[in-house]
Symmetry: D2
Subunit: 279 residues, 4 copies
Amino acid sequence: MIFDPGAPNLVKEGDLVQLHGTTHKNHLLVMKVGEVFMTHRGVINHDDIIGQPWGVRLESHTGNPFFVLQPGITDIVQSIKRTTQIMYPKDIGYIVLKLGVGPGKRVLECGGGSGGLTTVLAYLVGDTGKVYSYERNPEVQALAHKNLRLLGMEHRVEFKHGDAADGFDERNIDALFLDLPNPYDYLDQVSDSLIGGGQFATLLPTMNQVEITLKVLGHKNFAFIDVCEILLRHYKSDWGRLRPVDRMVAHTGYLIFARSIQAQLNELDSEEEASDIVD
Amino acid sequence: MIFDPGAPNLVKEGDLVQLHGTTHKNHLLVMKVGEVFMTHRGVINHDDIIGQPWGVRLESHTGNPFFVLQPGITDIVQSIKRTTQIMYPKDIGYIVLKLGVGPGKRVLECGGGSGGLTTVLAYLVGDTGKVYSYERNPEVQALAHKNLRLLGMEHRVEFKHGDAADGFDERNIDALFLDLPNPYDYLDQVSDSLIGGGQFATLLPTMNQVEITLKVLGHKNFAFIDVCEILLRHYKSDWGRLRPVDRMVAHTGYLIFARSIQAQLNELDSEEEASDIVD
Amino acid sequence: MIFDPGAPNLVKEGDLVQLHGTTHKNHLLVMKVGEVFMTHRGVINHDDIIGQPWGVRLESHTGNPFFVLQPGITDIVQSIKRTTQIMYPKDIGYIVLKLGVGPGKRVLECGGGSGGLTTVLAYLVGDTGKVYSYERNPEVQALAHKNLRLLGMEHRVEFKHGDAADGFDERNIDALFLDLPNPYDYLDQVSDSLIGGGQFATLLPTMNQVEITLKVLGHKNFAFIDVCEILLRHYKSDWGRLRPVDRMVAHTGYLIFARSIQAQLNELDSEEEASDIVD
Amino acid sequence: MIFDPGAPNLVKEGDLVQLHGTTHKNHLLVMKVGEVFMTHRGVINHDDIIGQPWGVRLESHTGNPFFVLQPGITDIVQSIKRTTQIMYPKDIGYIVLKLGVGPGKRVLECGGGSGGLTTVLAYLVGDTGKVYSYERNPEVQALAHKNLRLLGMEHRVEFKHGDAADGFDERNIDALFLDLPNPYDYLDQVSDSLIGGGQFATLLPTMNQVEITLKVLGHKNFAFIDVCEILLRHYKSDWGRLRPVDRMVAHTGYLIFARSIQAQLNELDSEEEASDIVD
């Protein structure tokens, strides 16, 4: 696997490497003997990287410094090729924690786009879990598929070409994320696939979408509904002049969380109790 | 394992169950045949829960409704017994994502407190990873240890009684979190334990602590320093009157991230190159 | 006038005084020879305050310290007796600046409540301006009237008992603020009273109200519509441990601003141009 | 006076006019018979504006629409020529309200820059108040002076060339604002000029400046210290897709407020009381 979570401390062929300049510019590349990496800041041979300890500082042939790093999962998400809108780490971190995505979990996403969230989900469920990724647009999905293959996590994801309206094949899913503009149209399909008590989440840019989703959620088998937004404020790291940066992302989307409940099944129980009384 | 990530859809003995009332009040308990759960809202027999599908709605003997849920990792963190200050999910989610905590990773924390973050770390590294948790206060650590045992994740954590000043036994750690008021005093110890390029993080309540930490980080083997804060704003989920809640948590702490680099080693390289020229 | 903007530096009879304890507790009272002020923190004679310089520190008979201050306009707004919801200084400051409320201006408010905003408007327009304050509830208006009289600014306000639906008597008003749950129902009345280009503003707690208001504004003679919200974050003023306070007001309301334009008159112009062509 | 607060409803020669295109681009100009306004969006004759009602929609010779508006005070502040950093309306609104700037008040500012805040202060104190504006840089002050003259408010401001270190000539000032990087160096001068209980304010970009200011304030004759920051979040005004704008200003500065108190005088009182006992 290319993106090796338990990497030793020396770079070897096949490793995914993040070359990070002293500014914010950085590149992800897979190490291959004999290959050459060319940038406008100079040339670096892969052979000069392989065998070096992680964290080392190298220089291109023009003397520009680069650090050799294992890419973090947020670096990867922000670097993958994409044709669809990005999800931000501030949102992803909170979503996967609330959804309880972790080793062994079976999670489903629909509207996976180019695979940003897919990558994090696959990373977190590990080899013992599974991600089911539905997408209607084959070209977008092909890109996500390619991204996951490059990262060596292809086997953790089952890519499914399909529309949320037709429902999902899986049952007893631990957590489900819809990345669609109209999640409110597919809440029955979500209920069908989620395990009782399972977490549902979605991210919506406008208040109008939130309103409709809340309205429909209230009439379906969901409880413990939570709407929130996450704001991330960066600070300049100049210790003698500590202050926030001048501008920030003011909005990505509103997050909605809800848990699937067995309300219909409960009503069945009530009827049985009623018949008990008759007896 | 009590906290079973791949649980089937029926509650069985030994499962960790979250009993969630219709309000925000909820309880975590481990299912045991014959046991009785007593609350001021009525009595429920464990035997009436075992065998039920997850997500079912039950009632106490006084008619109060409870939902039977698999607790999410955030529910667990917020419910564990503690004697130290809580870390909030908004911060934890961003921290673990930035640190790249996932299956198979080896992560180290110091100042683990009652085990809130420890629980999430153990959850995410899975059975193939390891958490090294240092704590100076034996009583606090005993509580964290007990919490992890109850959650069935004890084997994923190595609890170590020790002070950051003495350094950490582990090397080539993937990510390291200091939950201490003076992280700036232990940055050499952090460098020693982190793999080259490994992620370091800390959370500090005051600007003064941030300033000192930034100042010291600038003189040590760290790069790509990032200071930020996460704000979480909840909304009332009443769809016809959508608006933020009246009050919010204004501050938990400032997050600092930095990556360990091999600067000294790089200077060694430079000397070797120099000697090359002599030859 | 009790609330004397150009006060000399000694307290005299008739002055409005803010007695401010060392904590946040404070009292507003009008100085009167022979009167006694009793609080649970001790007794202070008005005669002991009169003749003192502003800013002096006195003590009650039980030794509790009080500072003798000229109340700021924000102190007054937060201290006036009220039966309706408060408007916050963070919102008031931005609203009056955007509305251009200042000496000599003629401003109109409807839904004035207990007179919080009325007080600030009257303060800012001075003796050369005028505030027209409409309110449907006579009891609420009586309280506002009494508050303004106590502050010596009664003559700057024309209190009018009336409903927005019936329109406002005034024309060529410089700025107009509606403090009503359904401002969208009265936008024609607003247009009729505002001078061309005049500023309209309203404050609404929910997104749904904002949506309707925006929708209706788009069909009326308004332009340069602006929707925003103001967040105020206080910091602990302990210099060695600088940090935001733990909790903050997360939401008061969304502000909407729009300027009245002469679109109908412009269409009249177009017709004249059309007739020009005929001629 | 050009910027006439109580303007009639028709534009006349000498009026300050804001020509506002349908986008956010706008221009301020003083009406003069015979003059021509040229922009890249076409030509408009002043004579075609004079005599029109405020709020009218005109077109340039190329057919581009312009609205004829009385500029708001915020429009003016954002349009004045400047060589120094701008203060934002979000901050100005809160500052002037907290400082109680209104008709008849005597306020002092130091570090006035190009006159942004000066303009608002002059606007609010009216003809019965006075603004004392100190500035060390003669060229910057000349620009501020010119700006105020153009706005017809020159007579409300006394421009003084001077350094805060030398103190201010005025006494019993109602409110005082320092726009300097090191306000902590001049707090005695502030105390000398402020009336007892008078409001002091400053705006500082970095936490380090705030810390020092708080530290020094604690040793001087000030009380009721408040540190805060104001965040302004704009929303897209598209009613069917209501959402915050994508990016916002994350930081302008931290605001510090404090009130001057008569602590030394109070200690004098105590001595007198002591001598009373002797007698």
